[in-house]
Amino acid sequence: MTSQCASGSGQFLENIARYLGVAVEEIGRLSQTSQNPEKVSSICAVLAETDVINMVSRGIPTQDILKGIHLSMASRLVKLLKVTGIKSGTVLLTGGLALDAGLLAALQEELVNEKVAGINAVSHPDSIYAGAIGAALWGAFRHDKLKELQGRAAA
């Protein structure tokens, strides 16, 4: 999948889950039971959906389809991580998909496949709030700085 569009993100996975008749909360657990993942070959979400429809008609089990999508997304995320230049240490998943255990497992697998096994990908129960937490903490920092500057200007 490409890094340019939404093909590897939450909304796409939600659409596929709806098509497969799987609840969003079930995706992670099902994906982890897959024995023979079927990789999605398309580079775009629209074509990937067609791929999934073909898989369903070929009788591929739901868990193998979901794991295939997770692996495609994970390989895209590993490429993103490589750009940061980090080769070891802890990397935190944030955003709505951070709680998808299937994606986390697929990401660990892809990190090993892509020979960046030094990176340890982890999630946090409150991962979805990371952006809001950062904004609140930067807000406090900026408030203190502004006060300091005002104090200096008055003096």
Partner: protein, 115 residues
Amino acid sequence: MIHTIGIDIGSGAVKTVLFRSGADKPQWLAKRCERIRRRDPMELARQSYDEVLAEVKLAPDDVAYTATTGEGENVKFATGHFYTMTTHARGGVYLHPEARAVVDIGALNGRAPST
């Protein structure tokens, strides 16, 4: 000691948190996460803002800074806006102090800021 609110408007959900900051480690007092589901994100931001304040029995005047991130540039009652990369990196380090990078997987995007 000051209170600050962070509002992260994403493509799938609006996340709001309330913090108390001072000399010690910041204290996380309240949080809200609302899926947008074809509603107006600005309305949801306002609603979540009121709810977190009500939860800890504070008034808008008690909040020193209301910071937005994500697609929250146009939130009228905000004090300032921060870029997504910096807020996710900062939030990631708060949740997991050893984290060296953050992989943000949103509803319509993916990004990986290093901390």
